[in-house]
Subunit: 299 residues, 2 copies
């Protein structure tokens, strides 16, 4: 069987449980960042690596500055998902030997701008030649207070589900210049008890089932409530992906206070209730949905 036939999710599901674990690792397998303890530090240490690959995550014609911005922000968005604060980043650059220096300089300009936006220090780099597509890998370390660390697995039955911003159509441009919702996530956990959270990188149709599965719950999605990007359909909002918005679960009791406080703090950014978590028993489908395909089948 090849990787294409199996898919990334199943590959990681096969491999991750068998990996060597240690005493300092906080159980959060499959979450956006790894959560570990570092010596006697009170905060958890968060670790994350992500990559952008030419012809997969960006087309060769895209400006190198935009590629750099995207590479950094994809990794930082995973810190937002856990209410973490990214602090340090390392860059691995794998490019053909005939790559122009100007392209590399522009790439680093984009990486640098994105890092500076969140006061992330770029502390090292590694480069290698390759034959084929260019790849930029950003590895980052950061912190989160244990009480404010939000995992995918913490959702409760009857929790409200909220998303920030609008969904769909990101592939037209926004996937290259988005700003991860780090500020918003930090504000959320400062003022509210968030039960579960994820950033919408693969799209609601993949990421909502993922968060539900981690919480061992089902969900009810109110499709007509979805906040749509201009000109986008409900289907696009569910399936396009690369929104990099937050999806989170929070008890119903906090709903009114949350909506009022959000409007005051972030008047320009939508916050929309799109459904709720359900216990597995309440759900009509005995098997949890596992991706966008499922949504299509239900329609």
């Amino acid at each position: 069987m090849t990787l294409c036939e199996l898919g990334e999710e199943k590959l990681l599901a096969q491999i991750l449980p068998s990996l060597t674990k240690g005493a300092g690792v906080v159980p959060a397998t499959g979450d956006d960042c790894a959560v570990v303890r570092f010596r006697a530090a009170k905060d958890y240490l968060l670790l994350k690596t992500d990559c952008v690959v030419e012809n997969v995550h960006f087309r060769p014609a895209v400006s190198a500055t935009a590629v750099g911005w995207k590479a950094m922000m994809r990794t930082l968005s995973d810190f937002a998902a856990m209410s973490g604060v990214p602090e340090f980043a390392l860059i691995t650059l794998i490019v053909p030997g005939d790559t122009k220096m100007q392209w590399v300089r522009n790439l680093y300009r984009g990486l640098n701008r994105a890092a500076a936006r969140f006061q992330v220090a770029m502390v090292g780099g590694e480069t290698s030649a390759t034959v084929g597509s260019a790849a930029v890998i950003v590895s980052a370390a950061g912190r989160v207070e244990p009480k404010r660390c939000v995992l995918r697995r913490g959702g409760k039955a009857n929790d409200d589900l909220f998303v920030t911003g609008v969904l769909g159509g990101s592939t037209r441009k926004r996937h290259l210049n988005f700003v991860p919702r780090i500020t918003e996530a930090r504000w959320l956990t400062q003022h509210f008890k968030i039960n579960a959270m994820i950033d919408l990188s693969d799209g609601l149709g993949a990421d909502l089932p993922r968060m539900a599965a981690a919480s061992r719950l089902s969900f009810k999605l109110e499709k007509d409530s979805l906040p749509l990007s201009r000109g986008c359909s409900i289907e696009q909002a569910i399936a396009d992906g690369e929104d990099y918005e937050l999806l989170f679960a929070i008890t119903r009791e906090q709903r009114d206070k949350l909506e009022r406080a959000w409007k005051k703090k972030f008047p320009r950014l939508a916050l929309t209730r799109i459904g709720s978590f359900r216990s597995k028993i309440e759900s009509r489908n005995s098997k949890l949905p596992s991706g966008y395909v499922h949504f299509q089948q239900r329609r």
Copy 2:
């Protein structure tokens, strides 16, 4: 200008100084690991990323288990260079979609074995498709006591230069199954004051001038003293690279004690004095040597 014409060293020299830095970063630009402070932890946090790329660092025919071992150990060797203890690792796997699952499983077997050898926890993974060569990127985090953190820059004039093990010929097999000198480095800084250290990944001919440059010193290499791998010439010991042995600088006063204690602790591993650091003024060459080319010119 292309990357091939410029070379990695000059590329990083151009780019690294311009990177965004923050308050928590300990100045160690160009060192093997990035050295940062994490919250109130007494130990420094060490961060490092490194990669192996098909057709560059390994041939397609090499077993995936060996590729995994090498990918992990390359990164861990940089912790040895700073007397650090690696603790956590993240894997990014970039492979063509038609890669066989068995290859991936074997790769992870090698990564896992190598991580387990030093009690490193593999805490996360990311995969992406690509067109072209496979690449395995290992990012690791670890720790070192500030007093035992050894940089490249700390060498003093008249320091003895020592190397562990034997040099040369690694490309025949050893580059795939080497064990980084983490245990040895930790022992060294527990018992001795080591002024500067580096792991020999690019070969003595590149790495010794690097350490000298970082320390703003020149060096005298006693070529006839070089510990040679079986069947290797002095030239190969200098130029082959991928030895992953330690090269370090230590004051002359500690020489006798070091040699005696080493023989007792590591009776099967050679420790060889190969020369000494010199002040720039003492040196005949006004310009510091910058790589193996220089050695060829002097011969």
